[in-house]
Symmetry: none
Subunit: 408 residues, 2 copies
């Protein structure tokens, strides 16, 4: 089945409103095995709407999601355009007019002729009720293509598409048949390679990737009757991703780490240089982090590294602030100063300046010190200052998570 999208609205082209519908629509459609072949964004202009609707049908589309142009203002000409395309009159749906009147009165707003215009649709079109706004949608068929016309506002668009397209189109539709796997520490190509076998072993499973810097999100989806295969594939994926898989739910990055620290009765303290406080920020985004986070120190200067963390001046002079030796002393120092069971440190050159031939911009050292367990890690990052900080802070916290899960 060929699916297209026709998005109508000046505000989508002049920089006022960002398109956020496509991401969610693509996701919802993929749940029923459909994908979007083409998306056309146009202004509120009757001739253009008619021209593009004809083009869409002539390209062989079977289904076209039309968004926008259904509101009360004179700009809103979607219903009129489709009436003209079908060569039928616009007719008012009195039932929908009553719904609009009731809704406006409930919110204490005036019932104007313009508002009631939203109950007009091409004769013969099927109404799509709108539970979250005044403008109902409608469905017509032209040259073999079903045009489903709904408002573009996300909180109206989403439920109407679900009711009018996703639910009826597929008996298999069950919202629970999706498993999300969030990975850190691998690039997309590596994730793809580790999960490649799923395509052959479980062809019923659809795999999707989304890069949410700095993590990669993998989704596994299946129709209802393939629930067993979905769980087999998910177990395979969990095994293949190993410790890179850090969460399967929508939660702050550090939430699984905070849970682990609580379970293991560990506390943590941070000595940050190049990350500037971002490690602490990420850690404290997880509710409940106050139970495990003892102290953070942001030590940018040599003096502060000496005074607050007890890094030896000789170490700094001999190896520089961005070195394995210095991050080791920083991690040990913050652990000693704070009394936490785990100390973690980061020091690097985030950029844009400060790089040298030996230590270019993007060089970052991380260290963990946890009562006898000591680990360091060197990163060589190609990003700008902000992204270098983001990767470094995530990688620093990730060292503790991996330590708690495996390396003790």
């Amino acid at each position: 089945m060929r699916v297209e999208v026709l998005a109508i609205g000046d505000e989508l082209l002049d920089g006022r409103v960002a398109d956020t519908n496509t991401l969610r629509l693509a996701d919802a459609l993929s749940d029923i095995g459909l994908k979007i072949s083409q998306r056309t964004t146009i202004t509120d202009d009757k001739d253009v709407i008619i021209r593009e609707a004809i083009a869409i049908a002539s390209r062989g589309a079977n289904l076209c999601i039309v968004s926008g142009g259904l509101g009360p203002t004179t700009d809103d000409v979607t219903s009129e355009s489709f009436a003209q395309l079908l060569e039928v009159p616009l007719t008012r749906d009195e039932e929908q007019a009553a719904v609009i009147t009731e809704r406006l009165e409930r919110f204490g707003r005036e019932v104007t002729p313009n508002q009631l215009k939203q109950a007009d649709r091409p004769q013969g079109a099927v109404v799509i009720p709108n539970a979250f706004g005044t403008a109902p949608g409608f469905e017509i068929t032209y040259e073999g293509c079903r045009f489903i016309s709904v408002p573009g506002v996300p909180r109206e668009f989403d439920p109407m598409i679900l009711k009018a397209v996703v639910e009826p189109l597929s008996k298999e539709y069950v919202p629970g048949l999706k498993i999300s796997l969030r990975c850190f520490g691998l690039v997309e190509a590596q994730v793809d390679k580790r999960l490649a076998a799923i395509h052959e072993k479980w062809p019923q499973i659809r795999i999707g990737y989304r890069a949410h810097f700095p993590e990669i999100q993998v989704s596994l989806k299946a129709a209802d009757e393939h629930q067993v295969q979905l769980h087999e594939a998910a177990d395979f994926a969990r095994e293949a991703l190993g410790l890179s898989l850090f969460s399967e739910v929508d939660e702050p990055f550090a939430a699984p780490l905070v849970e682990l620290l609580k379970k293991e009765k560990c506390t943590v303290a941070l000595a940050e240089s190049c990350t500037g406080g971002l490690m602490g920020d990420l850690l404290t985004d997880a509710p409940g982090s106050s139970d495990v986070f003892v102290q953070g120190v942001v030590a940018y200067s040599y003096e502060c590294k000496e005074k607050s963390l007890g890094v030896a001046r000789e170490t700094l002079d001999a190896h520089g602030a961005v070195s394995e030796e210095t991050v080791l002393e920083m991690a040990e120092g913050i652990r000693r100063v704070s009394g936490a069971s785990i100390g973690i440190s980061a020091s690097g050159i985030a950029g844009p300046d400060g790089g040298t031939e030996e230590k270019p911009v993007g060089t970052v050292w991380l260290a963990v010190n946890a009562d006898g367990y000591i680990k360091t890690k060197k990163l060589t990052l190609p990003f700008d200052r902000r992204r270098n900080k983001i990767i470094s802070a995530h990688a620093g916290l990730d060292l503790i998570r991996r330590y708690l899960l495996s390396e003790r």
Copy 2:
């Protein structure tokens, strides 16, 4: 002039990547009096690219911005498609091939035949160099329409469009014909009220607002011949916005503060509780912050506030960690411990838990201590944990900026 956009890439239609280019492109084009008439998003398919390019030209477009499909993988077929459309061969630009090789070697990556393929373009096309990635763009003309083809990645897309389209297209293009005013500490309705008079006094000026939490961005735009009025309106706006106006350029939030601190030969240290390190993170996003940022301490617990910052146990017991008395001692303490000339502190209840009747979630105290100057501020925030942290951290840093600008 009719302008269209052709966006190429499966990832734009299957939910992997959101379109963020349109907002910024529309904004850049409006600076030179142009707007986007239509945007078409398609998959990486040669036949579809050719079909849509023909349709765009036949609709009378004079300019089409083409994004995507220029990378090294076999999916990337934009150059090939335009060569076929023009019935010319693909030719390799050896100069660009050398640039690609140099770039890859600099980042220690392998130079493969696929990578070099990016130097291929339709014979006769004009190259558009890419300073931020391996794939150069190109320009061709077909049926009277200029097709400007560039990568879709924003950090490559933006500067290439500026160089290839915005700057050459208009003699009127003077970067000064748009003035951006970034405000912190006012909500949009307040900004709107303060600037309302501009509409009457200078009707030639277009005012736009964009909310970039937690700041409000105001843009003032005018045609070339209204430069005088633009500057008059901008002066009026600067006066009306007062200290809420913190920057007129695209830079990190803390960059103007870092410049001020340098100018005044001041240094700063941070004592963070509820912000968890985010104040330090924001401060260190500004390049050069190492010159003025002495030390940060993230002190979540009573013990850490006592030990690291010298807050008296009696103060904590009598008033709690979230109190004016505690933030005053935190600011004084971090200043003493670090030797910085300015100490700033934040303590609050970010949520979702931890609120009481007397101190509900969203209660945040901030303090500044700067050699005799002492100021506190209480915030009562209605947001979720993340947004409460963001507002608090910005407001903490903003206290110093306002102090340095006015209150000394």
